[in-house]
Every structure is written in structure tokens, then in C-alpha cells.
């Protein structure tokens, strides 16, 4: 990385970053068995990246569902298809908005804090101190945060989707007066478990979880241990994660369709 940093070509630099990132992933995967003895730390990180992100995920999910319900009702009423509101809300949320918006929020909420935390741990020699206490920081610091992110993402996406459906129902049924039975029966008639929930929500969000957590941990771990370094690394986490999420979303959609 240090060699690549000196190279002023941005393409070479980006490629070197991606390569370093992949190598870092391999290092983490190799350290997963060793980190099993630190499973408590994984649980603790799951609390920080997962449970602490719940509020923002739930609020955003609710509003996304509500605004979808409103917009779709408006458009569908042109064609007299307002009874399909529930279906379209569910499909839009399951296939796209649920995993993608959750991943973007997750990158902003949990990814940045992981990057900043690891970066500061390096800047304050905490990582070096662990090395000195014969504790492998990859296994103790990097892997638990990575695993916690991978586990938390699909769970958060599910919560987001559930709240989204609730929001759509709130606007569609309670406010705009779509029949409750129609709302649900149209939804259940069209939405498929495998295609929409498993492929749409679960697989996508697992992949997003891997990518966002990897980027966040990698940026924190490899940034120069200074305050500027940490600041840049947090920014890079958001930028790189967002690009990766949306690009991967396209690829995954193409594959899972």
C-alpha cells in the first residue's frame, strides 16, 4: 500500500487498494478460527453495529414504506389499480429498497463508526498494545467487527422491510382507505418467498454486509494512524461502500432475477 500511495496514478492506486482489501479479507478469514475464542467480543460488536443501528433503520424503514404507499397510491389510482399498492410496496421494498437503503444506512451509521474506532485504536497504539499482549488484533479487533456486520446486515434489512410494509399499510389502508383484505391478499398472491424474500432481502443484504464491513474494517485498519488519516478513512468508507453497494446491487439483481 505504501508503495502504491506514492504512485500518482489514481487507477493504479485504486487497484492497489482493491488488492490490499482482498488480501485483508483473506487474512481475516484465516483468523476466523482464532477469533472464535473471542466470541464474546463478536457479541459485543453485534450490539454496537446491529442493535445500535436499529432505531435509524426502523424509522427510515417506516418512512420509506409510507412514502412508497403514498406515491404508488397516487400513480396507481390513475389506472384504477390502487388495490395493487400493497403488492408493489412489498416488491419494491423486498427487491430493492430494503437491502440497498439498509446497506447505505448501515455504512453511514455502523461502517463509519467501525472505521473511526479502529483508526483511533491504531492512533492510540491500542492495536500495538494488543500485539504486545500477545493478542492477535486481526482476530480480536477486525474479525469480530466484520462478523458482527455480516450477521447484523440481513437482520437489519428484515426489520427495515417489516417496518416498510407496516408504513405502506399505515398510509394505504389506515389513511387512504384501501381495503385491508385486498391489501394483504394481493400482496400474498404475488410476493414469493424465494424470489423476493430470500433472494431479494437475505442474499443481497448478506453480500452488502460482507462488503460494507470489509471496507469499514479495512479502512480503519490500514489508515495512517493520525487524526487526518482517520478522518479520510471514514469518508472513504462511506464513498467506497456506497459505490460498492449500488454496483453490486445491479450485478446481484441480474444474477438473482
Amino acid at each position: 500500500m505504501s508503495a502504491a500511495m506514492k504512485n500518482d496514478n489514481i487507477v493504479v492506486r485504486s487497484l492497489a487498494q482493491i488488492g490490499d482489501c482482498a488480501l485483508f479479507l483473506l487474512r481475516m478469514l484465516a483468523a476466523v478460527p482464532r477469533s472464535m475464542r473471542h466470541w464474546r467480543e463478536t457479541v459485543r460488536q453485534l450490539w454496537f453495529v446491529g442493535a445500535m443501528s436499529l432505531i435509524i433503520i426502523m424509522v427510515c424503514g417506516l418512512f420509506v414504506g409510507m412514502v412508497l404507499g403514498l406515491q404508488l397510491y397516487d400513480v396507481l389510482s390513475i389506472f384504477g389499480g390502487t388495490s395493487a399498492t400493497g403488492t408493489v410496496v412489498a416488491i419494491a421494498i423486498y427487491r430493492e429498497l430494503g437491502p440497498v437503503v439498509t446497506a447505505l444506512l448501515f455504512a453511514g451509521r455502523a461502517g463509519t463508526s467501525v472505521t473511526a474506532e479502529i483508526g483511533l485504536m491504531r492512533a492510540t497504539d491500542q492495536i500495538a498494545a494488543m500485539e504486545m499482549m500477545a493478542v492477535d488484533p486481526i482476530a480480536y479487533v477486525a474479525v469480530p467487527r466484520f462478523l458482527a456486520g455480516v450477521i447484523a446486515m440481513p437482520l437489519l434489512a428484515c426489520v427495515f422491510c417489516a417496518l416498510g410494509i407496516f408504513g405502506g399499510h399505515l398510509v394505504g389502508v389506515s389513511w387512504l382507505g384501501i381495503d385491508n383484505g385486498t391489501f394483504w391478499s394481493n400482496m400474498t398472491a404475488t410476493v414469493e418467498v424465494v424470489k423476493d424474500v430470500i433472494n431479494g432481502v437475505i442474499w443481497k443484504s448478506v453480500v452488502f454486509g460482507i462488503v460494507v464491513s470489509l471496507i469499514a474494517v479495512f479502512q480503519g485498519y490500514t489508515t495512517p494512524p493520525t487524526s487526518e488519516g482517520v478522518a479520510y478513512a471514514t469518508t472513504r468508507t462511506v464513498v467506497a461502500s456506497s459505490i460498492a453497494i449500488l454496483a453490486l446491487d445491479f450485478v446481484l439483481t441480474a444474477f438473482l432475477m
Binding site: T124, A129, M132, M133
Partner: protein, 278 residues
């Protein structure tokens, strides 16, 4: 194990550095450096800023590896150790970081307990006893429930010291333990270093600039400059050995073997005066 004669662990020296050469970013940090750290003694390593004193500690703990030479610690050649062996060795070495490096996530108690929890499966009661004993030794048993952010610099350093000695190590490396401390805290740390050495017989390596403080505790002083040992001896005699290095370092002269000017071209030429520098 190439050179079995020099590899032979010497009873009197816990750490033997032989011919250590390290190049960092094209600059020779160490140039065939030889150093012996005797057992049970306090050895101070001094030198102008940027001479690689902290780097030397990192070589002793295996965090960095030189380009040539050997670093023997208790009979192990550190650069050649596998990761597992190195970790085993590190469990017997305490390291006090310049900025304490307490884990900000945990309170004082958990910080001191951290190595125990990572390397042992001791029952909670025993862990508690060990941790409180160590905290008592540094005088901070009452602060066990505080978070690292609530500690002053001197307290943080003492907690870090308690953490470093939790396994009763054979060797403690102090990286600038006095920086940023007020005279009271400095004396407290100084007293701890001496006590630990005297009561537990822990070999200590001290990297510091505070000459007065070092004179009080150190048994032996190495003065490093330009990647070599330029002077060594006990605190009373080292200042009088007559070399220009010791004279500048201990006398605090601005110019001398360590130049005031960073190496640069001719000033006149840099300012563009015609005819100068010819």
C-alpha cells in the same frame, strides 16, 4: 542458529543485540548495532530524537524485523521466531506505551484483566484478586471502575503499568514513560519503576530523555546516535567520557555532532545569489 558462539545465551544479558542493521525509507536507522541488556538491571537508552530508540524496542518485541543482525531475548532469536513462539515470548514481556494505549472500550479493571482473560481460563475470583493486587501496587485500586477517558496522564500510565506487569514478566520495556507528566506523577512512575525492579527483579529497559530522572534509577546508560552506540556507562561516569556526542547531549548544546541545520545545499545558491557556492 548460524553463529553458535554469539548465539549462546549469556546469563548476565537477557537481551543481546548483535549487528542489527535496519533501513527504513532509505535511511539507515541502525548500523550494525550491538547492545546488551543485563538481567535484573535497569538499562536506559538515550539519544537525540529520531535515532530509533522506540524502533529498537519494537525490534526486541518482534514488532519490527531488521534487515540484518540478531536480537536475542532470553535465548530466542526474535527475528527468526514463528508467530506462535513470538506470542509466547511476548507474554513474558511487559511494554509500556508512550501514550499508555489503554483499551478505551473497557474500564480500568477490565484493562488490567485483559491479558488474563485472553490467555488464561482463571476463575473470576482469581482474576479479581490478581487485578486488584496489581492495581494496589500502582496505587490505583480505588480507580478500578473508572473509564480510561476519566484518568489523568499519570494515572493512565500507572494503569498501563499494572497491565504490563499482570503476568509478572521477566522484562519490561518503558517507552518514554515520563513524557507529559508533572513532577509529582513523574516521581510516582519513577518510584514504581525502581520498586518493580528491586522487589520483583524485573529487567527494565527505559527509553527516555529526562536525564535527571534516569540518573536516579538507571544502572547503565546507552547513548545511541546515527544508528550506533556512541557512548555507554553508568550514569555517574557517562557524561565525563569526553566524546563530542556526550558533551552535546548531556550539555544540551544546540549545535555539535547533531547538526542544528538539517542537511541542505548552499544557502546562497538556494537564494539565487549569482556567483555564490562556486
Amino acid at each position: 542458529m548460524t553463529d553458535s558462539v554469539s548465539a549462546k545465551p549469556d546469563d548476565s544479558a537477557l537481551v543481546r543485540v548483535r549487528g542489527l542493521t535496519t533501513v527504513l525509507n532509505g535511511k539507515k536507522v541502525f548500523d550494525a548495532l550491538d547492545i546488551d541488556i543485563p538481567r535484573g538491571k535497569i538499562t536506559a537508552i538515550m539519544g537525540p530524537s529520531g535515532t530509533g530508540k522506540t524502533t529498537l524496542l519494537k525490534h526486541i518485541t518482534g514488532q519490527m524485523r531488521g534487515d540484518a543482525g540478531e536480537v536475542w531475548v532470553d535465548g530466542h532469536n526474535v527475528p527468526k521466531l514463528s508467530r506462535e513462539k513470538l506470542f509466547e515470548l511476548r507474554e513474558r514481556i511487559g511494554y509500556l506505551f508512550q501514550n499508555s494505549a489503554l483499551l478505551t472500550d473497557y474500564d480500568v479493571f477490565e484493562n488490567v484483566a485483559f491479558p488474563l482473560r485472553q490467555h488464561t481460563d482463571l476463575p473470576e475470583v482469581l482474576i479479581r484478586n490478581i487485578v486488584l493486587t496489581k492495581l494496589q501496587a500502582v496505587g490505583l485500586r480505588g480507580a478500578a471502575g473508572l473509564m480510561p477517558t476519566e484518568l489523568s496522564g499519570g494515572m493512565a500510565r500507572r494503569v498501563a503499568l499494572a497491565r504490563a506487569i499482570v503476568f509478572d514478566p521477566m522484562l519490561i520495556l518503558y517507552d518514554e514513560p515520563f513524557v507529559g507528566l508533572d513532577p509529582i506523577a513523574l516521581n510516582q512512575v519513577l518510584k514504581l519503576i525502581r520498586t518493580l525492579n528491586e522487589t520483583l527483579g524485573i529487567t527494565s529497559v527505559l527509553v527516555a530523555h529526562e536525564l535527571e530522572a534516569i540518573k536516579q534509577v538507571a544502572d547503565h546508560i546507552y547513548l545511541i546516535a546515527n544508528g550506533k552506540v556512541v557512548a555507554q556507562g553508568d550514569p555517574k561516569t557517562i557524561a565525563d567520557d569526553g566524546s563530542p556526542w556526550t558533551r552535546q547531549f548531556f550539555g544540551g548544546d544546540a549545535d555539535g555532532p547533531v547538526p542544528f541545520q538539517y542537511p541542505a545545499g548552499d544557502l546562497g545558491q538556494a537564494l539565487g545569489f549569482p556567483g555564490s557556492g562556486a
